[in-house]
Amino acid sequence: MKRIIKLTINGKTIEAAVSSNQTLLQFLREDMDLTGTKHGCGLGDCGACTVILDGKAVNSCLVLAVQADGSEILTIEGLAEDGKLHPLQQAFVDKGAIQCGFCTPGMILSAKALLDEKPNPSELEIRTAISGNLCRCTGYQKIVEAIGEAAEVVRMREES
């Protein structure tokens, strides 16, 4: 059984037919070819599939595509503007927060949701915000540093 959903992905309005058991993750990766969102477990354990849905970071493997009807979604592909990296992306690159990169899209989006809510997070708040995003490569230290640095850049940008 297919159902028509209408939603906004990275600023673009999309109408699509989805089956009722299809997850948002499958819809993004397979139907929309937005493969920047990663599949690490499909069970809500790893956070690699994190996207921002109506302002909140969610595991897209735990959301059905039909549940996303009418929502606004941001994936990693929608973060850079005019070919310019978002401060979080830039900080991840500069600080060495990326190794294999498989956790990176989800990690960056969890961080984005945090900074949208708390522009000046403490280290503990940063660690808590990404505690659902597993990274096996980095030991998290450089990720935490990168998020801290990006927060500063975003704040300065907003002040000016």
Binding site: K38, L85, D94, Q99, C100, G139, Y140
Partner: protein, 784 residues
């Protein structure tokens, strides 16, 4: 400060922007028109005879394109080491663990493939199974492989000097036993493969692997395709840590199904299948005795290992050798004896994982050193320094420490953690502990016996001279090898990092044994350097001819060419370059000749400028049996200090701080070196405190998910202070050596030594959970 332009800096990774924007493609991100989806049928029972397989219903299901079993795949044995090929792609007579592969299906979509699996009927006659390594060694235990009586997969006996006599002559002998638990590598990207068998009989595999070269060889052998017709391409890989170091049933199945159907076939393991495939850290039992003199001089080490191998060999032979050979240093021992046993059980096979074979035994040994130091009343750091090896020392088992900054690492963490003001002075419940370790910088020999080069590299300049393309079969799996090779090429050619492009992970580009045993920086690095030198010397000789200057007067750095240190007279080259590129946006400017102009001139004279480099280690090691395992052209080493708080009521452990020093020779990229150090610590912390793959009484994995199998989160990791120690390694390119695995060696024992310092309780079984510590604390208080 170094004189390098590119090396030893914190250059951002070359693949950073692609990975930060989601543009980087991993295997499962690929889609090809007409692509089929595959799935593997795995055994639900741990040990059984296969009586009959009926796939007729599955074959009839609409959308199913092929079903393959051992009948179609054949019974060619494969494995990692040719000395122990004990697997076939699909089980035919017996299944040996829950997860053993029986059949594979290709269908037009994933759901149909899955449904088809459920239609394959397999009749089993269940056999008694054995899951515990000690049980498996007992007489009368179920036999898993007929060829290996007593379930003894591999045995190692090595002795250097007369250990028993040496122990008798010691003032003090201290014993310790230790057992870890099976660990999962828990890389975040599950294995995935896309196979394309084309009309010319060529098979291309896009696959999530650490070792394109070995996958190519194994797949060619098992599928009976000429090896020259198999091409393995490794897209970006989401972590490997060891288990992606060998060809998988997933890769072979995809290849076979594509060959049978003539269509591209893709398969990705579920997270549960990653656990079932395993090939990760073994369970090790270690039993050791250390003999010392009163002044703390180490004399003799006796070491016994029992490894739970699971149902097949995988990397296991090397693993069981490493558990012995990697204790030869970094302390001077006069004698050492090692007895190792790797045992088959009816569980998924274990293989290589970060710190291959060495981690658990290092954990036991470094605890033993602390126990001994305590009995002698010597500070653990002083005890180690008294026995430490330095550059030029050779271990009792003949490993050559051609550079070794072990002492410098220890001094660095001692001051970096303020050890002297903390050791013995902390309040109850707080503790500090340390440990050391070392690791190979590339295995001295390939997995199969061969005179092959371990790495070859091709560098090809673009025709305009502006880009150096580095082509290598080496595997970027997250550790940063592409960036490392780009930096080595840029430095050697004397050009800017941005003007190098690395094309890697493709068996068509060059020969490279891949990302295991921490080998690429040294080995691929050597080959890259040599290829770049060749390119540079070609350009220099053309320049010398063209401008009539001696070759020795020409130098390259930072994208420009100097003649006797000055600009020289190059006007005619510049005007001809500009003439050829009229209207282009970036004409060469400035007072010096650019590399680009020089390279263009060389192209006009000689055609495409290509340089090639190659590396293989010289003959290394002793001549005793198994002497090859543990040899390496160089060794990295590290020392760590961990500070903990233990709640003495509940046993709850908090890691407060970690101070880590690693000697990686010249740090090619300082940020990446720290990244490897920090990642190693987190993997070691997880194994020490909570990771354990558990089984039920029938051999089924109880926690095959990242929810139930816990790995460290950002909240579990403390602040880490990473200190890079740089010795100069004579056998490494620019003096560089490993960091990716040596850095994990001290982590577990440093934590356990800190827990002892805080509580007076020795944890000798991992994971050191609060329950286990609570029980140990209780036992201790009841004993007094």
């Amino acid at each position: 400060m170094s004189d390098y332009q590119v090396l030893n800096t914190r250059a951002p990774r070359v693949d950073g922007p692609a990975k930060a924007t989601g543009q980087a493609k991993y295997t499962d991100d690929f889609k090809i028109p007409g692509m089929l989806y595959a799935s593997i049928l795995q055994s639900p029972v741990a040990h059984a005879r296969i009586l009959h397989i009926d796939a007729s219903k599955a074959r009839k299901l609409t959308g199913v394109k092929a079903v393959v079993t051992a009948r179609e795949a054949g019974l060619i044995k494969y494995g990692v080491s040719p000395a122990r090929y004990d697997e076939t792609l699909f089980a035919h007579d017996k299944v040996r663990y829950v997860g053993d592969e029986i059949a594979a299906v290709a269908a037009s979509d994933q759901d149909i493939a899955q449904e088809a699996l459920s239609l394959i009927k397999v009749d089993y006659e269940e056999l008694p199974a054995v899951f515990d390594m000690f049980e498996a060694m007992k007489e009368g235990a179920p036999q898993i492989h007929d060829e290996f009586p007593g379930n003894m997969n591999a045995e190692v006996h090595q002795e250097f000097g007369d250990t028993e006599a040496a122990l008798r002559s010691c003032d003090l002998v201290v014993d310790h036993t230790f057992i870890n638990k099976r660990q999962d590598a828990a890389f975040i990207e599950p294995h995935s493969c896309l196979a394309v068998f084309d009309h010319s009989g060529r098979l291309t595999l896009y696959t999530s692997t650490q070792v394109p070269h070995y996958v190519m060889r194994t797949v060619a052998m098992t599928l009976q395709i000429p090896v020259g017709n198999v091409r393995v391409i490794k897209p970006y890989v989401g972590g490997g840590f060891g288990p992606k170091c060998e060809a998988t049933p997933l890769e072979m199945s995809c290849g076979l199904l594509s060959k049978v159907t003539g269509q591209p076939v893709k398969m990705t393991y579920s997270r549960e299948q990653v656990f079932l495939h395993s090939r990760a850290r073994h369970q090790f039992y270690a039993e050791m005795s250390l003999g010392v003199m009163k002044d703390g001089t180490m004399v003799a080490l006796k070491n016994k290992a029992v490894l739970d191998g699971g149902a097949y060999t995988s990397f296991g032979i090397a693993t069981v050798y490493y558990s012995g050979s990697l204790l030869g240093g970094p302390y001077k021992l006069k004698t050492m004896k090692y007895d190792g046993y790797r045992v088959y059980t009816n569980k998924p096979a274990c293989g290589a994982q970060r710190g291959h074979g060495g981690v658990a035994h290092r954990a036991c040994f470094e605890q033993l050193i602390d126990m001994t130091a305590e009995k002698l009343g010597i500070d653990p750091i002083d005890m180690r320094l008294k026995n430490i090896m330095t550059t030029g020392d050779i271990t009792v088992n003949e490993l050559d420490m051609s550079s070794l900054g072990m002492k410098e690492c220890i001094e660095a963490i001692r001051s970096g953690s303020d050890w002297n003001n903390k050791k013995g002075k902390l309040p109850k419940g707080k503790g500090i502990g340390m440990a050391c370790g070392f690791f190979v910088s590339g295995a001295g020999y390939p997995i199969y016996r061969s005179d092959t080069y371990h790495s070859t590299v091709v560098i090809k300049l673009s025709e305009d001279g502006g880009v150096a393309n580095v082509m290598t079969g080496s595997a970027e799996i997250g550790q940063g090898s592409d960036t490392t090779m780009a930096m080595i090429a840029a430095e050697t050619l004397g050009i800017k990092l941005k003007d190098v492009q690395v094309h890697s992970g493709d068996t068509d580009y060059s020969v490279d044994l891949g990302a295991y045993s921490s080998r690429q920086t040294l080995m691929t690095g050597h080959a890259t350097k040599e290829a770049a030198e060749q390119v540079k010397s070609q350009i220099a000789s053309h320049l010398s001819e063209e401008l009539n200057v001696p070759v020795s007067s020409i130098t390259f750095a930072d994208g420009i060419v100097k003649f006797d240190g000055g600009p020289g007279n190059f006007e005619k080259l510049r005007s001809s370059y500009i003439k050829e590129h009229r209207g282009w946006m970036d004409p060469p400017t400035g007072e010096y000749l650019t590399f680009r102009e020089a390279a263009r001139m060389a192209y006009l004279k000689a055609g495409t400028i290509v340089g090639t480099g190659k590396y293989k280690p010289p003959r290394l090691g002793g001549s005793y049996k198994g002497a090859a395992v543990g040899t390496s052209p160089a060794y990295g080493c590290s020392a760590q200090i961990v500070e903990v708080t233990v709640d003495l009521e509940t046993g709850q452990i908090t890691i407060d701080r970690m101070t880590d020093a690693h000697d990686c020779g010249l740090a090619i990229n300082r940020t990446s070196v720290e990244g490897q150090m920090q990642g190693s610590l987190s993997m070691g912390l997880g194994e020490c405190l909570f990771e354990e793959v558990k089984f039920d009484s029938r051999g089924r994995v109880l926690n095959p998910s990242l929810g139930e199998y816990k790995i460290p989160t950002a909240l579990d990791m403390p602040k880490v202070k990473s200190i890079i120690v740089e010795s100069s390694e004579p056998n490494g390119p620019y003096g560089a050596k490993e960091v990716g695995e040596g850095a994990i060696m001290p982590t577990i024992p440093a934590i356990l030594n800190a827990i002892y310092d805080a509580t007076g309780v020795r944890v000798n079984e991992l994971p050191a959970t609060s329950e286990r510590l609570f029980m140990a604390l209780k036992d201790k208080s009841e004993a007094v």
